[in-house]
Amino acid sequence: MAEDKSVAVEARGITKSFGQGVAALRALDNVSVLVRENEFFTLLGPSGCGKTTLLRLIAGFEFPTYGAILLHGQDIARLPPFRRPVNTVFQSYALFPHLTVAQNVAFGLQMLGRPRAETAARVTAMLRLVQMETLANRRTDQISGGQAQRVALARALAPAPKVLLLDEPLSALDYKLRKEMQIELKRMQNETGVTFIFVTHDQEEALTMSDRLAVMSAGRILQVGTPREIYEHPADRFVANFIGETNFLQGEIQASGEGSAEVRLDLGVTLKATLPRGGLPRGRTTVVVRPEHAVLGPAGADTGLSGILENIVYSGVDTQFHVRLASGGLFLVRAQNSHGAPAQLPGEPVVVTIQDGAAQVVGD
């Protein structure tokens, strides 16, 4: 691989089974993924899809049934956790209750046998980074959830790991604190230059924070890409459905060219849609359209999908229009709110026009 130098973590064909024989459960099924150095990489997927398992394999708490885990090109799959330059921020934080905040942060450095003065200086610097200097001597059961999360972060960053693993570290926080911590996490990743592998099942969090993300389902990685790639060009039905709101339309590929194809929808309209990377599905296909990539117009235009406007949902920044298509399906259109009331009223016939190149063909 040409860019081998910049690869921080690589999983090669990882399979992880729990239990034996008939009762065996495949938590991960032939998973391969590359995480680049200094990247904010997110694992996103529904509950039980294997995110934590993959993280625990990288941390060393579990060992893969098959496959290799490489850290900077070196196979670490058989090393115990205390020999891996990788630290974890646990979902439950797992702060040591018998130690103070500062002692928690110092723990890793002490175990590495760093000189006393160096440890003290590093602890101070870490506590400053997470803005917890004033609470250095508190017991860990006397701090708030957000503070505990910051201590967990400082503790994991103190030994200067090559890779930091974060297992849903924000899931226990309330909405406002969560937003603040998202920004702080990004800031800390920029300041420290450490590779972050972040686990979440919150798609909004994944999209806003990640450099790249992997969407997982049932022990497999379905798609890896930048938030924009994943959102605008989902590779398959599950990804499209899991991330954001989506309209699914059935149709037939008529002609395909370089990366795009003419698709004749069952509703009688022909449109140009982007093809997924790799192979192109022949014959019948599914096309996805994001609600904000469609425009609502008055009945009469002949290039769109005609239907009846059923419902209007106002939500501050934008408005959602529910359109009942001729096929009986519901189509969602989202429009930014400008001043004044929308032109259409519920019950009126309307036409939905899909923006050029906004439709995406997905595999099933």
Binding site: A59, G60, F61, P80, P81, F82, V86, N87, T88, F90, S92, A94, L95, F96, P97, H98, L99, T100, Q103, F107, G108, M111, L112, R139, R155, A156, P159
Partner: protein, 318 residues
């Protein structure tokens, strides 16, 4: 509104007095409620202690018992000292001192050995799946169902010269003469470890069960090896169990009576046997009472020292 305002005002003026009255009644009520407990504590715990204390300061009766009301320090004198019958010189009572020393030593070693054996046992049980844990705990508590005397005699069957252990060792050719274990300190130690081990395992298990094993993982994650995790995380967190288990084993060990009697024979006495001797064949009740109280003070001093030390160690860590 208007008419009812006046009684309300009166009530408000009255309130402090009413509250005071209620508080007084409350206090009497509380005393009454706790009376049964107080009576039991007095008759079962404090009362006998005072009887013992009083006896230890009385002259001994000719055929046991004490001469009521006749003050004497002879009992206390003989705890550690003895007077030569011929020339009246006062020397240290070597026999008593060596029994004190042996009891202390054996109890400490018993506590240490049960801790060393009990710790991995409790850890093993605490890390089993929930269902099999109950089975293991059940197995640990089975000995409690059997009388102490029977358990001690069972131990005798194992270690006596013609017993299971020696037969096995001779049969396998490891030794050709039976090992003399019976009637030695080793026999007493074996017996005490066997009998008191569950008292160590149970409190250890109780605190290990509460241990959050994610903290152990966090320790491994932060470069602590197996020994580091044991020393810096597991031991500090289960310290309450270690303290409780040690106390539960040390106290009965120090006063053990049946085990040294059966396994140690008449030769190797412990404090319990010495006390029994004074109230029985020795016919020296004041001395027996004085030794009993000395033993109690010994236990209290040891506990104070131990708990202090343990909590200071804890404070050093956290």
């Amino acid at each position: 509104m208007e008419p009812s305002a006046i009684p309300a005002l009166e009530a408000a003026v009255d309130a402090p007095r009413v509250a005071e009255h209620a508080a007084r009644r409350d206090l009497t009520g509380r005393w009454l409620l706790s009376a049964p407990a107080m009576i039991i504590i007095f008759f079962a715990a404090i009362g006998p202690l005072f009887v013992m204390l009083a006896y230890s300061f009385m002259a001994k009766g000719d055929y046991g018992d004490v001469k009521l009301g006749e003050f004497s320090l002879d009992g206390w004198f003989s705890v550690f000292l003895q007077r030569d019958i011929f020339d009246d010189t006062v020397t240290l009572a070597d026999a008593h001192l060596s029994i004190f020393w042996r009891s202390l030593k054996l109890s400490l070693v018993t506590t240490l050995v049960t801790l060393i054996l009990g710790f991995p046992t409790a850890y093993f049980i605490a890390t089993r799946p929930l269902r099999s844990r109950d089975v293991w705990l059940f197995l640990i508590t089975i000995p409690f169902w059997t009388n102490l005397l029977i358990r001690t005699f069972a131990m005798q069957q194992v270690i006596r010269n013609e017993g299971i252990l020696n037969s096995l060792l001779i049969a396998t050719g490891i030794i050709d003469q039976p090992l003399q274990i019976m009637f030695t300190d080793t026999a007493i130690l074996l017996g005490m470890v066997y009998v008191y081990l569950p008292l160590m395992v149970l409190p250890l298990y109780a605190s290990m069960e509460k241990l959050d094993f994610r903290l152990v993982e966090a320790g491994y994650d932060l470069y602590a090896g197996r020994l580091g995790v044991l020393r810096r995380i597991i031991i500090p967190l289960v310290r309450p169990g270690i303290v409780a288990g040690s106390i539960l084993v040390f106290i009965p060990s120090l006063g053990a009576y049946v085990i040294p009697r059966v396994l140690g024979g008449g030769k190797t006495m412990m404090l319990g046997n010495l006390i029994e001797l004074q109230f029985g064949g020795g016919r020296n009740w004041p001395l027996g009472a004085a030794i009993s109280i000395t033993l109690m003070i010994l236990v209290m001093v040891a506990l104070l020292f131990y708990v202090r030390n343990a909590s200071r160690l804890g404070a050093q860590h956290g």
